[in-house]
Amino acid sequence: MDDVIEKLIALNDIDAMLKDAESEEYRSLGFETKEECIEKLKKMREEIASSIPRQVVKRYEKLRRKYGRGIAPVVNSVCTNCFMQFPTEVASRTDKNQKVEFCPNCGIIIYWT
């Protein structure tokens, strides 16, 4: 897998973790969500984001504002963000996840599962 895609996945996973950690519903379950822990997670996020090319991070953030996430998996040739079906010739490529790609329909960064 491309290094940048791997980092974008980590970024998205941290964003999901942060969203949970800051929600009342999650806190009420009794999991440790001290302010210092959340800060630690935010620092990890910054470190990962700073190691990704600036333009890619910018696009990721823009997509996150628009869709609530910056990257979406393609499952069974379908983009899980907009549900567009990829043509067979694209879905059967052997060089998937080797570079950052976008869904031609919704523009989200895609990860092939």
């Binding site: 897998m1 791997e6 996945i9 980590a10 998205n12 996973d13 941290i14 964003d15 999901a16 973790m17 949970d20 950690a21 929600s23 519903e25 999650y26 379950l29 009794g30 999991f31 440790e32 969500t33 001290k34 822990c37 959340i38 630690k40 997670l41 990890m44 609530g68 996430r69 990257i71 979406a72 998996p73 499952v75 899980t80 996840n97 990860y111 599962t113």
Partner: protein, 151 residues
């Protein structure tokens, strides 16, 4: 909901792990992920543990995370007779693990609802105090199903 997630092939009756990291690795095995996906999920779980242990005390740990590489919510239950040092909040070894993983965007916050059910189920199991005494894997699975029906 939680009853649907309990599957025989996602139960580890006798965990071999001795440390926290070994436990996380062992717990994700039944998910049958590709090496690439396993690595990503393990890293996300480690990050979650780094911000505070999911060892909630009384011998229970509920490691959990969301990850882009997952297609659906999945639950793995692990039982360790010897116990694992998991940096639990009460400092005691963990004997019962509930690993919950999910994709980042799930409709109707299924993940958080399930996480709540898992926490309630784990507490009920501790109250019953039978999970370490079950005769075999089948009896353990039966006990899990029974308790799942009560939450």
């Amino acid at each position: 909901m939680i009853g649907e997630l309990l599957k025989k092939d996602r139960i580890i009756y006798n965990m071999k792990a001795k440390s926290k990291d070994e436990a996380l690795k062992e717990l994700i095995e039944p998910l049958n992920l590709s090496d690439e996906r396993r690595k990503v999920v393990l890293e996300a779980l480690r990050k979650r543990e780094a911000i505070g242990s999911t060892g909630i005390g009384h011998g229970i740990a509920i490691p959990h995370t969301r990850s882009v590489v997952l297609d659906s919510v999945a639950l793995v239950v692990g039982r360790s007779k010897e116990g694992v040092d998991f940096d639990a909040l009460d400092g005691k070894p963990v004997h019962l693990f509930f690993l919950l993983v999910a994709p980042p965007n799930d409709p109707g916050t299924k993940y958080l609802i399930t996480l709540g059910e898992v926490a309630r189920m784990a507490k009920k199991l501790i109250e019953k105090d039978e999970y370490l005494k079950t005769a075999d894997e089948e009896a353990f699975f039966k006990l899990l199903k029974e308790v799942a029906g009560e939450v």
